[in-house]
Symmetry: C2
Subunit: 224 residues, 2 copies
């Protein structure tokens, strides 16, 4: 069984019990730039919601993911402080987004996107760049998903996180989230970390949420 199903309890309640439409931000409720404070696993938007807004992470981490009908989940990306997410081409979100832990996001009206058409502002450029970065990340991620082994996937993931966090690695997400991001199971993620630890490439202190990169060169070799 896949990780996502195994840990049904960890999935947002909204997913399991259905989500009353009024639970979600009403299309006109949020002014540009308002902040929303989120609890762990709280849903920001669901697959199929209309794309009235997009978001920027202030603190914490957010995951965007898709589901197959049988519950298998693919996390597209983790978004950390400063990242923009939720920009989509169509009228409906094709991903759902939830807070990984307690988090804060700023909400922007999607129509700000139309500034692209008329706007030469710095903001428009920033939004377009965010989109391009998403695309770039998606492309790299496809290579990872389609062609890398479990250990390589984990190594790439750690290096990526280290680069985005400034050298150290503090995992804001669960093994289940990591597994769904890398197209693996939680057991395989765990075993890969154990193997990297055995090979003295990383160290994983007892809390298991911090990772010390011991041999960056070895990691980069795995990253190809």
């Amino acid at each position: 069984m896949h990780a996502a199903v195994a840990s049904a309890a960890a999935l947002p309640k909204a997913l399991l019990f259905g989500d009353a439409p009024q639970d979600r931000p009403a299309p006109d409720a949020a002014p540009v730039g308002s902040v929303r404070v989120l609890a762990k696993d709280e849903e920001i938007f669901a697959e199929g919601d209309c794309t009235a807004f997009f978001y920027k992470v202030i603190s914490g981490a957010v995951r965007t993911s898709k589901l197959l009908t049988d519950g298998r989940r693919q996390i597209d990306a983790f978004h950390l402080a400063g990242d923009i997410f939720g920009i989509e081409p169509g009228a409906e979100h094709r991903f759902s987004a939830e807070a990984v832990g307690p988090a804060k996001v700023v909400i922007y009206r999607r129509c700000s996107l139309d500034a692209l058409a008329s706007g030469n502002g710095a903001f428009a450029r920033q939004v377009v760049q965010a989109m391009m970065r998403s695309l770039e990340r998606a492309q790299n991620h496809m290579l990872l998903l389609g062609r890398k082994s479990a250990v390589e996937k984990v190594a790439t993931f750690l290096l990526d996180l280290a680069a985005r966090q400034g050298g150290h690695v503090e995992l804001p997400m669960s093994r289940c989230d990591i597994a769904d991001h890398l197209g693996l199971t939680i057991e395989t993620v765990s075993r890969s970390l154990t193997q990297l630890e055995r090979d003295r490439v990383i160290e994983v202190p007892a809390h298991r949420r911090t990772i010390v990169l011991r041999d960056g060169a070895a990691l980069r070799r795995l990253d190809s």
Copy 2:
């Protein structure tokens, strides 16, 4: 022509041959580009090449792919007639592109992309939409790569191709290309097709480059 194909072709035409040429400022928006005729496997650009141009397929098919250092390849997408490819965020291509078989492409200068920053309305919007489509495809593909079984991958691939070709499936690419697109090996692709054939879901005439979809419902079930 079926709706799906018409809409796929409509975007590029609007983008590049817009019916209101006068609202595009001339000098650095793309002049209708020169045509390049390509032989099978001929390279259009390589990973690392600078992104001076982007392209539209006139005929044939083009693949964009990435390589790991050990030679494993992930094909990002196949681009058919009417498709635009080669738009990238950075100064260098992070993919290589080659013709799948004999093909023709139109070449456009990339500098038209800079229209984004200076805010030329219609053109900018459409380029952004093309980018968003790439992103959408990338995202769907990640789900496929990370979470679908071999048979499911092949089923999805066939349905996608059928939608883009107007209902029938004529494979312009080799099993090897398909395998690299789906994150499989050629043997597994072949076995999956054989299994679908055994289950009377598809038929594969002797040339092995045409596929008849016999049980679309079954395919869609596999597609989830």
